[in-house]
């Protein structure tokens, strides 16, 4: 299960937060844990350079893209490698939507589209689509070209 997708700005404010199968009372804890993890480790990291951590049986893969930091949390079959696959899809979809690694402003400008992309990529904790060109078409309700 992909437990959480969290996108924050450079100051640690949450921009997008989607939890799956995480009890409501634990979400705040996760949020602050991830934000702290980012604050401790993401300084000076290059765009899309992946960082990885694990906490008990849960894996975390996170990175920076422009002004935003992206965190994925998963367990069981969503281990560090599956998460890195998923985060790759998310970063490429974000770059696609924003045209470049986004500033916070650009991210918020494209917020609706980004939500649609995430909806196509992760559905209730399962990875659904992995190809950015397909996602680009799907959010405009266009069928994919390739099969």
């Amino acid at each position: 299960m992909l437990l959480a997708v969290l996108i924050a700005n450079s100051e640690g404010n949450i921009l997008v937060e989607r939890f799956n199968g995480v009890p409501a009372e634990e979400r705040l804890h996760w949020r602050s844990f991830l934000v702290k993890l980012g604050a401790d480790n993401l300084k000076g990291v290059k765009n899309e350079e992946l960082l990885v951590a694990n906490h008990k049986s849960v894996y975390i893969v996170y990175t920076v893209l422009g002004d935003v930091s992206i965190f994925l949390v998963g367990k069981d079959e969503y281990d560090e490698l599956a998460l890195s696959e998923a985060i790759f899809v998310i970063t490429s979809a974000l770059k696609d939507v924003c045209g470049k690694p986004p500033t916070e402003r650009l991210f918020l400008d494209k917020y609706g589209k980004i939500c649609l992309c995430l909806d196509e990529i992760v559905w209730k904790g399962l990875l659904e689509n992995t190809d950015k060109d397909r996602i680009k078409r799907l959010i405009r309700l266009k069928p994919p070209i390739d099969f």
């Binding site: 979400r27 490698l81 909806d119």
Partner: protein
């Protein structure tokens, strides 16, 4: 929104001004949502409002029931619009709102229409939304369409239906299970993602049917799997099949191993890694099987991608627990990871190296770690400290450098948890390695000279009080202890006073000087410190009231002989219902609640393949000793030699849970039956165990101690005592029957009826075996201990152990038979070795030290031969050990 895009490095405040969501407020957005009701829909405007709503929801904002209903109804109006972008937003919005059952009806017809639309994308999205919000009854109506969708030629539609199926399987399994033909067809799909989703769903549908899973794996491993993701799933399912089927005994081959091995050459890294991990987790994996997997993991160690490095080192770390030798090839690569930027990777590398390192590499490794420790966070440091602790227990001869390392890091900056881990480690090393005691205590003393944690200071002072007086020169510790009285806070001062008193009680020569120090404490400004000083001065004989030496020691060193949780409960009860009579400590129940049933069930549930390291043994002996000595009937039996681990006499989840602990004395054996009544409607009284010892001829029953009453869920004990010939390791088999009077309990009032019925309950048999008479006591340096025993008492003989699966099995069998402590890590047999030497030590009944050297060899027909050499203080004991092996 005409503001120019700001550059990243512009002023932050300025940038915030431009945020499109600046000052966004729920009430206002809900007002804006009214545009959804306009007769002339403005699609662009509606999309913007939905974006705002999504932003709110994604920020963790929640809508009340009526707000959500209002938004939901408004959103459904948007189905009238033909704007594609807006429609996509509407789908997402409905899913996010997840309306309740009675509202769903509003959108079902619109969604059903979309589901049969000619536009593929409408179909896919409508399926996802419908499945998200649907319940069982609606599902049966749309089932037909879903089945069609699974085999739809558009992969997006098929995937949408399949992923919906995975979710619906949780809520409506019986419906989804009917789709297996379609799903089976989808598994053969040419579209990679469809195959991936179909495989996941098919496996979930069939996961309880082993044969079906086996067939699925067999056919797919021969066919083509297009997506790497699906390939990973297949590898997981394959290893599950392998786990359940075991090794082919005729050829010695493992089914599907070739498939896993071929995956190591796949082009996708995730498949390679998955296969490598699956191989390392195979049960009883051989070196030959392991080698190719280790080789690819080793390549990953030097990958440029941190995720791969992390995955590889994490897997190797696990392998190192069971097959340290297999991982040693990677040591050079792993050493370079110590300086990895990612601290998780570096820590894993260090702890793996600590597991695989041999005695000679310890010093070099410690040097590397020292430089590494300064720049990692506390939580990683704790992991390293724990790894060093186990390394030290493995190589006791290296205690000096490891202890020095621990004391060095103890002096550096660090938080409480970290310091506590170090102190705990030093304490454990002092307990387990006698040679390390003096230097360890001094390190602790130096630490408390400058320790900011009251908890740790008091713990160390307590420990020092127990261990310090037993050292060769106890007086050197006094300075450190008395410094605490001068320099620290009241809690630490009080502990220091107790510690001083312990030294005074144990060492007569120090007593007068201790009195001087204690008298100074009488002027302390804290009353607890003054009280303690007064109390100890009097008990130790400085004042008018003086106690006997035995009482003093009992008072100072004896711990509270009642379980603290029970004590706490009793005190709480007393405070809640105050009585005239003062609180009586003897009224606190002494029964320890046994392990909850739930935990018992959990064990052995999931085989991990690698096997978790055994749990640390808990010293229950003290508790048993106190419990037994509090029973007058057993007080004359003398000193308790050994208490066994509890042996379960009932299955889990039966009406009554009973286990037995065997207490061995010189001339007696006491059987302690721990009973738990798991039926709330019953009260058991006069509970005894009727023991049939006809198959244990040397034992004669001399008494029982029945249990008066056994209420629901309150564990309690009944005892049966036997006499046996002195010092003889008598063995035998015991059959047991639980006998009791059962009374019905009214669940509403909790009161039992007056009349009861006699009843019996059959328990399982158990045996007293030779191992019950040998204490597991390790020695720090086996070679020295062996040579100091001298060859006179040595007895050597050879035994054939018959055919065995491998040497590990043979070694474990002999260790279990003798019940002795394996030394220097020799219980671990390197995989596939043909011969092995195992060193054991222990104390035989009558307090006779025994050392055993076992040499094993296995031939090509798997016949195991063993040479057993025994040395002990008493040659009769050496003979006895041989007898145990000969008759076992």
């Amino acid at each position: 929104m005409a503001a120019p895009l700001v550059k990243k490095d512009d002023d932050r405040d300025e940038e915030a001004d431009y945020s499109p969501f600046l000052g966004i407020e729920k009430g206002a957005v809900l007002q804006e949502a009214r545009v959804f009701n306009d007769p002339q829909l403005d699609a662009r405007r509606c999309s913007q409002v939905i974006t705002k709503l999504l932003y709110l929801l994604n920020q963790g904002e929640t809508f009340t029931k009526s707000e959500a209903t209002g938004v939901f109804f408004a959103v459904t109006k948007l189905f009238q619009s033909k704007d594609i972008g807006l429609r996509r937003m509407v789908y997402l919005m409905i899913k996010e709102l997840s309306p309740c059952a009675d509202e769903v009806i509003i959108v079902t017809s619109s969604l059903m229409k979309d589901m049969n639309s000619r536009t593929d994308m409408y179909r896919a999205n409508a399926i996802r939304v419908l499945c998200r919000i649907t319940d069982g009854t609606l599902l049966t109506q749309i089932e037909r369409y879903l089945k069609q969708a699974i085999v739809d030629k558009n992969p997006v539609v098929a995937s949408a239906a399949l992923v919906s199926g995975i979710h619906l399987l949780q809520t409506n399994p019986e419906i989804v299970k009917r789709w297996s033909n379609e799903v089976q067809e989808a598994v053969q799909s040419r579209a990679a993602l469809v195959q991936f989703h179909a495989l996941a769903l098919l496996h979930q549908i069939r996961q309880n049917d082993r044969l079906a899973v086996n067939k699925l794996v067999t056919s797919l491993t021969k066919g083509t799997v297009r997506s790497p993701l699906a390939q990973c799933l297949l590898i997981r399912y394959t290893s599950q099949v392998i786990r359940e089927s075991g090794i082919n005994t005729q050829t010695g081959d493992r089914p599907f191993y070739d498939y896993l091995e071929s995956c190591l050459r796949h082009k996708a890294e995730m498949v390679i890694f998955e296969a490598a991990r699956a191989i390392t987790e195979l049960s009883n994996v051989t070196t030959r099987e392991l080698t190719p997997a280790i080789t690819v993991l080793q390549l990953f160690l030097s990958s440029s991608k941190p995720v791969l490095r992390f995955a590889a080192v994490r897997t190797l770390n696990k392998v190192a627990m069971t097959h340290p030798m297999a991982v040693t090839n990677c040591n050079i690569d792993m050493e370079s990871l110590i300086s990895d930027q990612n601290r998780s990777i570096a820590t894993l590398a260090i702890t793996t190296l600590l597991k695989t390192g041999n005695e000679s590499s310890v010093d070099r490794l410690m040097k590397q770690i020292t430089s590494f420790m300064s720049d990692i966070a506390d939580e990683f440091k704790i992991v390293v400290v724990e790894a060093i602790r186990s390394l030290c227990l493995k190589f006791p001869l290296k205690y000096r450098s490891l202890m020095n390392f621990l004391s060095n890091i103890l002096r550096e900056e660090g938080g409480f948890e970290y310091k506590k881990a170090i102190v705990d480690s030093i304490v454990i090393l002092i307990r387990d390695i006698p040679d390390a005691k003096e230097s360890g205590l001094l390190h602790l003393c130096e630490f408390i000279e400058d320790c900011e944690f009251t908890y740790l200071s008091t713990q160390i002072l307590h420990f020092l009080g127990n261990e310090g007086p037993k050292t060769s020169d106890p007086s050197k510790y006094i300075r450190y202890i008395y410094n605490r009285v001068i320099l620290e806070n009241a809690t630490v001062r009080a502990s220091a006073v107790s510690t001083l008193a312990k030294f005074g009680a144990m060492i007569d020569s120090l007593k007068p000087r201790i009195f001087i120090l204690l008298r100074r404490c009488l002027f302390d400004n804290d009353d607890e410190v003054r009280d303690r000083a007064t109390l100890y001065l009097n008990t130790l004989g400085d004042g008018s009231v003086s106690e006997t030496d035995k009482d003093v020691k009992e008072f100072l060193f004896g711990s509270l002989d009642i379980p603290l949780t029970n004590f706490e409960t009793s005190l709480k009860n007393y405070v809640q219902n105050p009585e005239e009579v003062p609180f009586d400590i003897n009224s606190v129940p002494r029964e320890v609640k046994s392990q909850p049933l739930a935990e018992k069930k959990a064990t052995g549930k999931k085989p991990t393949g690698l096997g978790a390291p055994p749990a640390a043994p808990i010293s229950a002996v003290d508790a048993y000793e106190r419990l037994l000595s509090s029973i007058p009937e057993f007080a004359s039996f003398g000193k308790l030699f050994k208490s066994s681990a509890p042996v379960e006499l009932t299955e889990a989840e039966t009406e009554y849970a009973v286990n037995v602990v065997k207490h061995i004395f010189d001339r007696h054996v006491v059987l302690q039956y721990n009973c738990t009544n798991t039926i709330p409607e019953q009260l058991l009284e006069n509970v005894t165990v009727i023991v049939d010892a006809s198959e244990a001829e040397e034992f004669s029953e001399i008494g029982t101690k029945p249990l008066k009453s056994l209420p629901y869920d309150t564990p309690a004990q009944t005892f049966v005592a036997f006499e046996k010939p002195e010092g003889v390791p008598a063995i035998g088999k015991f059959s047991n029957m639980l006998r009791f009077t059962v009374k019905e309990v009214d669940p509403s009032t909790g009161e039992a009826e007056d009349d009861g019925v006699e009843d019996e309950y059959q328990l399982e048999d158990f045996e007293i075996v030779a191992a019950d008479y040998i204490l597991k006591v390790g020695v720090s340096n086996f070679k020295n201990a062996w040579e100091s025993m001298g060859p006179d008492s040595e007895r050597v003989d050879e035994y054939g152990l018959g055919p065995r699966e491998n040497l590990t099995e043979a070694v474990n069998a002999v260790i279990n038979l003798l019940g002795m402590q394996p030394c220097e890590g020799t219980e671990a047999v390197p995989a596939n070795s043909r011969s092995h030497t195992c060193l054991l030590s222990g104390v035989y009944i009558g307090n006779v030290k025994v050392l055993v050297r076992l040499s094993f060899g296995i031939d090509s027909s798997k016949e195991v031969a063993m040479k057993l050499a025994v040395r002990s203080d008493d040659e009769n004991v050496s003979d006895a050990i041989h007898e145990i092996v000969a008759s076992g």
